[in-house]
């Protein structure tokens, strides 16, 4: 599988996905 960090687009998409994952984590487990 190609490394998403090899392209700028893949890097930004990865960052947005990570933001969503951390947001769900924070909403459910840190502030619940």
């Amino acid at each position: 599988m190609k490394n998403p960090l090899d392209s700028i687009t893949g890097t930004i998409i990865s960052g947005v996905i990570l933001t969503l994952i951390l947001y769900v984590f924070a909403s459910n487990f840190l502030l619940g």
Binding site: N3, L5, D6, I8, T11, I12, S14, G15, V16, L18, T19, L22, Y23, A26, S27, L30, L31
Partner: protein, 164 residues
């Protein structure tokens, strides 16, 4: 130092750090590939990259330091609670952890490897190629991490409804 001054400084040096990070990723790396093709790369590697890296790594350090000072001195936040993701410091703690990982990447992965790539320390061609790959991936990792890092810093400061 008054906390508002520290916060102001934190944002200014943070802009310097992340601005240069985006410059490296969005402008210099693709530009350097083109410059190598037409023989103009030394203009970048000798005169621009070392200066940009100097501001970059010290802005990263100053950003972490002013952020840590803010967490320590703030009446509503706590340095320990932030890094333990506890209580009212939990949200900014996620940003603090991401920023700390990014600072580590700057000083332990990006800067030592860029010194080899730019010829500031001796390295064989093979070592330079490996160093360039490590530095690129660390820089791209920081670009990726900067997206949630800024989200949690801004969220903590302005309080999105779902975040209390």
């Amino acid at each position: 130092m008054d906390l508002i001054l520290d916060r102001w400084l934190h944002v200014l040096v943070g802009i310097t750090w992340i601005g240069l990070l985006y410059y490296f990723n969005f402008v210099q790396v693709p530009g350097l590939a083109k410059a190598k093709a037409d023989g103009t790369a030394p203009g970048i590697t000798k005169h621009i990259a070392p200066s940009a890296l100097l501001w970059f790594r010290w802005a990263a350090f100053a950003t972490w330091l002013t952020g840590a000072y803010y967490l320590h001195m703030s009446p509503r936040l706590s340095f320990a609670d932030a890094f333990l993701l506890s209580g009212g410091s939990a949200v900014i703690g996620i940003g603090a952890w991401l920023g700390t990982i990014m600072l580590f990447n700057v000083w332990v992965l990006i800067w030592p490897n860029q010194k080899k790539v730019l010829g500031l320390v001796d390295a064989s061609d093979e070592e330079k190629a490996k160093a360039a790959r490590v530095a690129l991936l660390a820089s791209r990792t920081n670009t990726m991490l900067s997206i949630p890092m800024v989200f949690f810093m801004v969220t903590s400061a302005h309080g999105l409804p779902a975040m209390g």
